[in-house]
């Protein structure tokens, strides 16, 4: 399964800056992810010329296995092209246009090949509230924000603390509490968008250099029912930005929990002889309290076999 993220947000919110951050960090990483970007226009994407292996029309191939495509033949065709690549990308990010209906686009991620479809919307902390009442785009902006699983409130350094708080509470009210990540220049831990834990990238490393974040992990040799797990996922507060867990149900089938902001999914997998449950999470310091998570998993596994 390929990870799939729809990246939305109005003109000037910082989508391209975020994508450039992602590409740069991935390039520097010891364990790069094969990312495929589907963008409107190559023009604004900083692609290190040394990384470019080849370019054919609407597709740029990078040395670290990443590709960058433009939307020339429409969305569905572009996605098909990416899915058919060899080697297959591990994660596809679609940069939606400033006025796109991100929920509609994310629907393409719910088929058989693409997984963990999630919607990340970047908002310009300075202008988002004003744009959300603009005569042309008010409804579009509001629809985008409400459809997000996770909102990146970008450029918060430009706001006075008081105004920043007011903006956050306005956003929370508008979106009914969708988790918000305040950030500057789109700088967030990569793990929030991609796989939480990778071979050379343990969870506590992933928040390294990002003081505002906290990580948490847990493991136990017990099985758990799907119902209990779903109830646990629902109980996670908006401070938990990203969470992933692998479990085994009482009948010996794998369960996988994926949380991206408000999106919480439990998927069943193959039969296994193991019974280890493992869980990792990232959140905002002060908003995701590790003692709360500890207590929640204690309760979750209390009666488990």
């Amino acid at each position: 399964m390929i990870g799939f993220t729809v990246l939305g947000g109005y003109l000037g919110a910082g989508k391209t800056t975020l994508l450039n951050q992602i590409l740069r960090r991935n390039t520097e990483s010891a364990d790069p992810i094969r990312i495929a970007l589907l963008v409107n226009d190559f023009g604004d994407i900083n692609i290190d010329a040394q990384l470019i292996e080849s370019q054919i029309d609407s597709q740029i191939n990078l040395a670290n296995g990443c590709v960058c495509c433009t939307l020339t033949d429409g969305f569905s065709a572009a996605l098909d092209t990416l899915v058919d690549l060899n080697p297959q990308p591990e994660h596809i990010i679609v940069e939606a246009s400033g006025v796109a209906d991100v929920n509609n686009l994310s629907q393409y991620g719910n088929g058989q090949v693409l997984a963990l479809a999630n919607i990340v919307v970047v908002a310009d902390a300075e202008t988002v509230q004003e744009k959300a009442s603009d005569k042309y785009v008010a409804k579009t902006i509001q629809r985008q924000l409400k459809a997000a699983d996770l909102i990146l409130l970008n450029k918060v350094d430009l706001l006075e603390p008081q105004i920043r708080e007011r903006r956050l509470s306005w956003l929370s009210e508008l979106t009914d509490g969708i988790p918000v990540v305040p950030c500057v220049r789109g700088d967030i831990p990569q793990a929030i968008l991609f796989e939480l834990e990778r071979r050379d990238n343990p969870i506590d490393e992933s928040v390294h250099g990002h003081e505002e974040y906290v990580s948490w992990s847990y493991g136990i040799n017990k099985r758990i029912s799907r119902e209990s797990l779903e109830a646990f996922a629902d109980s996670l507060g908006p401070g938990v930005l990203r969470c992933k867990g692998v479990f085994v149900d009482p009948f010996g089938y794998r369960l996988e929990l994926q949380v991206v902001g408000k999106r919480k999914e439990v998927a069943a997998g193959a039969k296994t002889l193991e019974s280890v449950s493992q869980l990792v999470a990232i959140g905002l310091k002060g908003k995701m309290l590790t003692e709360d998570l500890d207590a929640a998993v204690q309760r979750l596994f209390h009666d488990a076999p």
């Binding site: 226009d41 006025v99 058989q112």
Partner: protein, 552 residues
């Protein structure tokens, strides 16, 4: 060069200095003159062609908003509610019950030879079956349990498929796509809503997409146009003409001497929502113009700026939709639209802007004003196409800015009742496609079918704006009716004007192309309610006769 003089019962020229005649002299595809035989005979030896002695000749109709899809659809079995004219002159019946649908689909199924080929049909519209449960895979399973079936709806936004089609594409109820229709038990019911869900059934979806990119689609467009008296038709963003393969195909088909139509290609320079390198694309279009031929033109580009009124996806201003949920959506970032438009405007390329909602249209008008302040071009003739809900203030401004309108007048008939009762309410429904106001405010306008959304046919399009009646018998906005003469102008010279082709086509005038629509009756003197029923003999294109196909 030989001269042919066509004699007619009456010739209506749409040339105000020489409005009528009985004879038209033609040499080398061009008109020498219109008048009496005596007036046109002096050009030299001629052959008198009496074939149209009982007919009325008007300028060949110019359809300024249609798509090659009108032809592409003909390649698939038709399951629409209203009957449909086919390229061979025959008529496909309207399908007005689920039983009739199953029968028609079963017949189409029996005609497929390859057992693995999916059955793909088009035109079904649930809006005409309000009292029945939604169509599901179970009805289509009656047609075949083994052959995959894909039935595209008329809106293009939905499809219904059978169980075999779901199975062939591994579409299961576990897929968490909103557009997958479900019954009360959560089982898939076979309805697919919007492209994400529709594209899950690729083996069917792909065929609907592909038919438009075939030579036969272009040929069928030509035949349908000829049958309707149309001699110049746009393909407004149907083909990607910048692709060498598409260009070659269009050149070859239209270059065939027997091809009866001039086609004006208006490409979408980029997919809606994308921010392509428009400067570069504008250059490519300028270069493309060097490849123009007599029957294949590239006057400009088209931008799609919003959705549709009946789909509630057109962006309309206060007080908004009369009922139903507002899904109004711009397909451009307002601040960026000037950047899209500017390179084409600077390259003197004519731009047609799809605006169904009046708020979208406001953006288009304001952006054109901004561009004109930067780069004056008095004769741009940029056009707001669809322009259905144009307000009086917008008409006044469009007139000053030199913007043209191309009204989607067939909506008055096909969706007029729905607009009155459901979408925009009585006041805005009555002023929809405001032709009389446009005339008063001095906005040059055309009227269109948007074929294949509604059938190609300029007489029907004229009939709509002259009578403004709906299927329920309501007259939508008596005061916005225009005369048959003004309606004829809108489907001839005014349509040519907004493509910068009015010096060549659109009226019958010395030096212009000898393109005629040959009609069995005079549209200016019949009962206005009879205009759409006037029989079309066929066309003359550059002096050559093309008889409409008649069903045998």
């Amino acid at each position: 060069m030989s001269i042919t003089i066509f004699q007619a019962q009456k010739i209506i020229t749409m040339n105000p200095s020489n409005p009528e005649g009985t004879h038209v002299a033609v040499r080398d595809g061009l008109i020498l003159g219109v008048g009496s035989l005596q007036e046109v005979a002096g050009w030299g030896d001629y052959e008198l062609d009496m074939s149209f002695a009982d007919q009325v000749i008007v300028p060949g109709f110019v359809e300024a908003h249609a798509h090659v899809m009108a032809g592409g659809m003909m390649l698939l079995p038709y399951m629409g509610y209203f009957e449909r004219k086919l390229p061979d002159g025959s008529t496909a019946p309207g399908i007005q019950s689920y039983e009739a649908l199953v029968d028609a689909m079963t017949l189409a199924e029996s005609e497929l030879e390859d057992p693995d080929q999916p059955l793909v049909a088009v035109g079904f519209d649930p809006i005409y079956f309000p009292d029945q449960a939604r169509l599901t895979r179970h009805e289509l399973d009656k047609v075949s349990k083994t052959r995959p079936i894909y039935l595209q709806h008329a809106s293009g936004h939905l499809a219904t498929v059978n169980t075999a089609m779901l199975a062939e594409n591994n579409v299961t109820k576990g897929m968490n796509i909103e557009g997958l229709g479900r019954d009360e038990h959560g089982e898939l019911d076979g309805e697919l809503r919007e492209p994400a869900a529709m594209s899950t059934c690729k083996t069917g979806h792909r065929i609907v997409q592909m038919v438009n990119h075939t030579e036969q689609a272009i040929r069928d467009l030509g035949a349908l146009a000829r049958n309707a008296g149309i001699t110049t038709c746009t393909d407004l963003a149907g083909a990607s003409i910048l692709s060498p393969r598409a260009l070659t195909m269009w050149q070859e088909v239209t270059g065939d001497e027997s091809y009866p139509l001039r086609v004006a290609q208006y490409n979408i320079p980029a997919m809606p929502g994308s921010a392509a390198a428009f400067d570069e694309i504008a250059d490519q279009f300028v270069q493309l113009q060097e490849k123009q031929t007599e029957k294949l033109r590239f006057p400009g580009v088209k931008f799609v700026l919003d959705g549709s009124i009946q789909g509630f996806s057109a962006l309309i201003d206060e007080p908004g939709y009369f009922s139903g949920e507002d899904h109004g959506q711009l397909l451009t970032v307002p601040e960026q639209f000037a950047d899209w438009l500017r390179p084409f405007h600077r390259a003197s390329l004519n731009v047609h802007m799809h605006c169904n909602g009046n708020l979208t249209q406001q953006l288009a008008i304001d952006t054109v004003e901004k561009i004109l302040r930067e780069d004056p071009w008095l004769d741009h003739r940029h056009t707001i196409t669809h322009a259905q809900l144009t307000t009086q203030a917008q008409l006044r401004k469009m007139s000053k800015l030199g913007l043209c309108a191309n009204f989607f007048s067939n909506h008055i008939w096909y969706w007029g009742d729905q607009h009155y009762d459901i979408t925009v309410g009585p006041e805005r429904a009555n002023s929809i496609e405001p032709c009389a106001s446009a005339l008063r405010e001095g906005v040059s306008f055309s009227i269109h079918s948007d074929a294949g959304v509604t059938p190609l046919g300029s007489l029907h399009t004229m009939w709509c704006v002259v009578n403004r009646v709906t299927p329920s018998g309501r007259v939508l906005g008596e005061v916005e009716k225009i005369s048959p003469y003004e309606a004829l102008k809108a489907v001839t010279i005014s349509a040519a004007y907004q493509m910068h082709l009015d010096d060549e086509i659109g009226s019958l005038e010395a030096g212009k192309k000898a393109d005629f629509a040959v009609l069995e009756e005079d549209p200016l003197s019949v009962d206005p309610m009879h205009i759409r029923d006037i029989k079309v003999w066929g066309t003359v294109l550059a002096g050559d006769k093309h008889k409409a196909a008649v069903a045998t």
